[in-house]
Symmetry: C2
Subunit: 382 residues, 2 copies
């Protein structure tokens, strides 16, 4: 039986998600927005019966069994952890820091019977599902290189906000790179152990962000990951993200191995085995009939749609409306995956500052909350 849904967020993802949920038969009972006005406006537009700017009103809403959290990264942890504590199933976007991600992992471990997945949606896109399957079946032989490029227009909001702030989880690496980091670990079945990166903010001010305000989040990011085995047996991944290219949208994921290669361009998958003369189309563009959203690239949009379908199957498999079957969402990124992704993001940022390769070390216990204070005091002393 399908659970009632509460949605957090009034941004472009939430705006797309609600119709997708409804199309699969979910009832969306409540909407949370940062201000009453935002919440009211979108609730009216999408036909959601209840709206609020107080998070508890959604979390404690008796018809809400599944909470979808698509809000600025810095607020995600708080809502997600609380939702699990109240006994609700959670789908959420990434948090802002590894510490936040770690707290989410702790909560998810504490409530293993509750659904807790990252709403990081490229894994569900049919092209990537097929790519993963073909990699497992040995289409490319031994995996050597992954090469990813995402080019597009600016990610900044119309007005100054978290998207401009590196520390708030803004920027290409955090916003788009996260999904790519997750995707590559899904595709390769391994994780990054060393990374190297370079971040830039080419556009620090624009027509809307000026005066004393400056953008600190990256609009160009370029990183390498060494994944899997060590030394020469590891897979080299290179990722180039460029959001200074208005009017374009390129989303290309290529994996190259010893006997062939696979390339996902947008939502289509192509392959070529060594020895064959040309590329073959493996997964076509299946004629997307859902909404088109200017701010949201088609691979993410279709991935989101496929994830909602998987959620429907997961809940439909059970009688009880809060219960779900693991099968349909088995490949979804867990909160542990979310922590891994956040750890890689932070390692890339460190590398961009240090200029060196940085190790990816997953947090295994919560850092002392006084540590930063201690370090600040130490620095002051020197």
């Amino acid at each position: 039986m399908l659970p009632g849904v509460g949605v957090f967020g009034t941004g472009s993802t939430a705006r797309v998600l609600v119709p997708l949920l409804k199309a699969e038969g979910f009832e969306v009972h409540a909407l949370w927005g940062r201000s009453e006005e935002e919440a009211c406006c979108l609730a009216k537009e999408l036909g959601i019966p209840f709206h609020t700017s107080r998070s508890d009103d959604v979390l404690l809403h008796q018809d809400v069994d599944l909470v979808c959290i698509y809000i600025p990264p810095s607020m995600t942890r708080q809502i997600a952890v609380k939702a699990l504590g109240i006994g609700k199933n959670v789908v959420c976007e990434k948090a802002a820091t590894a510490v936040d991600s770690f707290k989410m992992v702790t909560a998810a471990r504490y409530y293993p019977q509750l659904l807790s997945i990252m709403g990081n949606t490229l894994r569900f896109l049919p092209a990537f599902v097929a790519m993963r399957q073909l990699l497992v079946e040995g289409y490319v032989g031994e995996l050597q290189v992954c090469d990813v490029r995402v080019y597009g227009p600016s990610l900044l909001d119309q007005s100054y906000g978290w998207t401009c702030e590196e520390l708030m989880g803004g920027g290409g690496l955090h916003t788009v790179g996260s999904a790519i980091i997750d995707l590559l670990s899904y595709l390769s079945g391994t994780r990054a152990h060393r990374v190297h990166g370079l971040l830039r903010t080419f556009v620090q001010q624009n027509g809307l962000i000026r005066g004393i305000r400056r953008v600190t989040s990256d609009d160009f990011c370029f990183f390498q990951m060494l994944m899997g085995g060590t030394g020469s047996s590891s897979v080299c991944c290179t990722v180039t993200l460029n959001f200074n290219m208005p009017g374009s949208f390129v989303h290309e994921v290529m994996v190259v191995g010893s006997t062939g290669r696979l390339i996902a361009r947008g939502t289509e998958l192509y392959g070529q085995r060594n020895g064959s003369k040309s590329e073959e189309l493996l997964v076509g563009d299946n004629g997307w009939v859902g909404p088109e959203v200017k701010e949201m690239p088609l691979p993410l949009l279709q991935g989101l749609s496929s994830m909602v379908k998987a959620l429907r199957q997961s809940f439909q498999a059970k009688e009880e409306r809060r219960c779900w079957a693991r099968g349909p969402v088995a490949t979804a990124p867990t909160f542990e995956d979310g922590l891994y992704v956040q750890t890689v993001v932070e390692a890339v940022k460190r590398s961009s500052s240090s200029g060196e390769w940085e190790c990816v070390e997953i947090m295994s216990h919560e850092p002392d909350p006084n540590q930063n204070l201690c370090e600040a005091l130490k620095r002051n002393k020197n």
Copy 2:
């Protein structure tokens, strides 16, 4: 008046070059090959009256005023320096090391009246000539990012040889990366000051190279260059070279700036200004009617052809057959450019070993020839 030409080399470039020279009206009088047999065979095929395996026989040949050197990198310096010493004009391929390149620079400086250019041919390709012009005119605004990808089949020869040996100048970085490094300095009008790179040899043995022999030259190379100004005003260049992709050939050079971008795909140039809805074709494929060569990508082939045309114009402008006009070859890479390129190549290799950003420091005096010996002795001692 056009000079008589002597060609060094029997490889695929020499094989293409001779017909191109003839088509422009040059007479090719002599051919050098490593063995009498190779030289004889190709001379017969191309209708060259004289062939030899002794370099002096070409250099001292009285009808030879221009020497074109397309031989393995480790042999280039010796022939090029000698040719200049004898008073011949020189077009040559890259050398194997920065020390060799420096010796060539010294010779070229000593004989400024002689033509001495690197036969590094992407600069002459019409698409890149136009790209350079548009960059100067401000098509893309302030240059931010260059992104280059060259993918193709293995660069290894049929049998074990210098192409397999990193120290002999083999590998994707040295062979193809060199031309890209030169091109990016031509396009941007600046030079790299820091580089970071990663080299891999994924295929260390194949059907023809086996037993105790192993390939040491890279078949995957990925590097970044910071060019021009320092700090955030420098241009970020990323270059990905992958030669484990049989059946494919991708040659893409993209430059992104504050107000638009230019992309050369193969021999065609496209552009898009911010605000315009789609790419415009700026330089089309002009219907190449010359020879097609399996081992040689079309951009290099057409670049070579354009360079030969420029050489013809340069010599035609003067009466005396050894004299040449600077104008038509003013944009050709000099031996100084060759030294710069070689220095970057070596810095990328160092970075791949050290894992760190490496500075590009152009050699200003010849290193002590005993230094290597001293270092070897020191190492032995420890």
